[in-house]
Symmetry: C2
Amino acid sequence: MRVLGIDCGTERTGYGIIDSDGRSHTIVIAGTIRTSPRNPLSARLAMIAAGLREVISQHRPEEAAVEEVFHAVNAKSALKLAHVRGVALLVIAETGMSCGEYSPLSIKQSVVGYGRAEKQQVEFMVRSLLGPEAPTGQADACDALAVAICHATRKGRAVA
Amino acid sequence: MRVLGIDCGTERTGYGIIDSDGRSHTIVIAGTIRTSPRNPLSARLAMIAAGLREVISQHRPEEAAVEEVFHAVNAKSALKLAHVRGVALLVIAETGMSCGEYSPLSIKQSVVGYGRAEKQQVEFMVRSLLGPEAPTGQADACDALAVAICHATRKGRAVA
């Protein structure tokens, strides 16, 4: 199963694609779509959509997964993030992929085995699960890979 | 100037196109894109995007306008609305239109002359500005027309 994970953000949207049988995972590609705050939100959304469409058409994932949006932290950033998430869900729907949605807690639980893990622990585990080809110093790409791993693990468990 | 106004919503997204010289306005088309809560959000976003693209390609507006999102009322509905708004802004950006964004207060101020006007007053004024062709009993289409009128009036004043 080839899974695309997306970590939405207005400034940096991370993406990561893995091949997985539900237990072991291989990285296909991971990266970050960056947009400048000097551009209006609509132009930034168009850049994010174009970037995601390109990654999808090049690497043909079969399923997709995104993080659930949570409104606890900061209402204004959550609203901005929801705009990007809307665009990501649209791009996914338009390519006909099914899309899993996971809470930050479930993602950490899947990858680290502990729902309240720190960001660095997630990055460490993503790297130990995917090997040296996992990106270093790219927090957003790494978070996207974590979402993909979470989805692949859940799906693998459902099939088994 | 031909202006498209959009009133975003997950269940009902209103749209309205007017021709305007900044003072007098004629209605071109107005309607509502409805989506069912039984469909996942991603499918609903795809329906909204398809609906908006169709209206744009049929009626070729030159500019667009949407309401600003406000997070005061209900955090959960504001987040859902922001997903739809992200999709609307994307569709607008991809067609190359510039897009005005207005607060509910400015829209009411433009249409009724009073920022704290009731919904019925807005509908009444939209109908008296646009004539009998304005839709009746379609609150979302009417709100979309109000956004378009607000944009056309502001632009008209800027040019004069």
